[in-house]
């Protein structure tokens, strides 16, 4: 799969997206240099594997939301992303200073704010998701992954697309309500939003 194909499939429907995601995740062309880079920074083998997963996911999100523009330097971009991710990782572990100790420019700006607070938001969201019930959580994850209402309807044995839409809406409402009640998470989301808005 070429870099262009990875990009176009990451933007496509859930099935093609997953194919590209798996390829990117397991491709030695990308994985090996990044893992070596992370290990070189002093990250343990297990932590490097977890970070690699987060890097791939973050990259896929940037592509999916049209925040990545392919200029034929995909590996370089992922390396840059990895750099910010590992700095944030250390910051969270209080080993190193924050990733934003220097002023990011160009692509770095996007990456810096997208990766900032990644680990904290991730764990807070996991905690909030666990409070809305397994079925609701699964349904929202499928929806966010790009599955359409028809596919979700058949996966969850819901009677109609309209009912699926309603169910999704009520699950989302429940989650957003919980997030609003979580002061720390609300604060982080607000900061995250303001940073993105500033950049725009």
């Amino acid at each position: 799969m070429t870099d262009e194909e990875i990009i176009s499939q990451l933007k496509a429907n859930a099935h093609r997206h997953d194919k590209a995601l798996s390829f990117l995740f397991s491709s030695a062309k990308f994985k090996n240099p990044i893992i070596a880079f992370l290990r070189n920074k002093g990250v343990s083998r297990d932590e490097a594997d977890l970070l690699w997963t987060d890097i791939v996911v973050k990259f896929a999100l940037l592509v999916k939301s049209n925040k990545y523009e392919d200029k034929g330097k995909m590996l370089g971009y992922i390396k840059n992303l990895s750099n910010f991710m590992v700095l944030n990782f250390f910051r969270d572990k209080r080993k190193e200073p924050t990733a934003l100790s220097s002023t990011p420019v160009g692509d770095e700006y996007q990456i810096a704010y997208t990766t900032n607070d990644h680990f904290e938001i991730k764990s807070l969201l996991e905690s909030e998701l666990s409070k809305i019930g397994e079925s609701c959580k699964e349904l929202l994850l499928y929806w966010a992954h790009g599955y359409n209402m028809k596919e979700i309807m058949s996966k969850f044995n819901i009677v109609s697309e309209v009912a699926t839409r309603k169910r999704k809406h009520s699950c989302m409402k429940k989650l957003l309500g919980n997030i609003s009640n979580n002061e720390k998470m609300s604060q982080l989301l607000k900061e995250y939003y303001n940073e993105l808005k500033q950049q725009a």
């Binding site: 969201l125 994850l141 790009g146």
Partner: protein, 192 residues
């Protein structure tokens, strides 16, 4: 941040969570139940085939070893009869085991002499082309007694190598010459 903007950000975060979940499940080799069952079924079939094939493979090997003890490609010398044979011109190739070359020369449209047909049969046998050999033997009528005896022996050998039972082979042993019968008995003794 209005509710819609908040929802958009949460959607991105949900996407990340779902993608991580997907990669984690794939990385740990988790498969959908149907895929897992299919893989298990395929593995069971392979195992069953292996178990069934194993003794057969041993039988084939032991039969082949026994066959090699009693069979050798006949020594072909130049004909003294008036009937010309193609193989007469390729004695050296036959002696050096260049059977493929001779087989090519025997692929002619005109009818083969008995000697040529006999050599062709042995080449097929040597190359374990039993299907071609049977077809060749069915299409050619040998008249000379020597050739008839040799072809009976060759047919016995094919039957042996193709896995006929001891009883089946025993029932056809009487068609062989005494010399061949001795060899045939040695072959039968090799069958467990």
């Amino acid at each position: 941040m209005n509710p819609q903007e908040k929802e958009n950000i949460v959607e991105d975060l949900l996407y990340e969570a779902s993608a991580r979940k997907y990669l984690k499940e794939n990385k740990s080799g988790k498969k959908k139940p149907i895929v897992r069952y299919l893989m298990m079924a395929a593995a069971a079939i392979v195992l069953a085939l292996f178990i069934v094939k194993l003794p057969m493979g041993n039988a084939d090997t032991s039969r082949l070893a026994a066959l090699e003890e009693v069979y050798s490609f006949p020594v072909i010398s130049k004909s003294r009869s008036a009937q010309t044979a193609i193989v007469d011109q390729h004695i050296s190739e036959l002696n050096t085991g260049n059977y493929e070359f001779v087989l090519d020369k025997l692929a002619v449209e005109s009818p083969l002499s008995e000697k040529d047909a006999f050599v062709k049969a042995h080449i097929f046998f040597e190359q374990r082309k039993y299907k071609e050999l049977r077809s060749h033997l069915q299409s050619y009528v040998f008249k000379g007694q020597y050739y008839k005896d040799e072809i009976s022996w060759l047919t016995f050998l094919i039957n042996f190598q193709e896995g006929q039972t001891r009883e089946q082979l025993n029932s056809s042993i009487h068609t062989l010459t005494q010399q061949h019968q001795k060899k045939a008995k040695r072959l039968l003794d090799s069958i467990r």
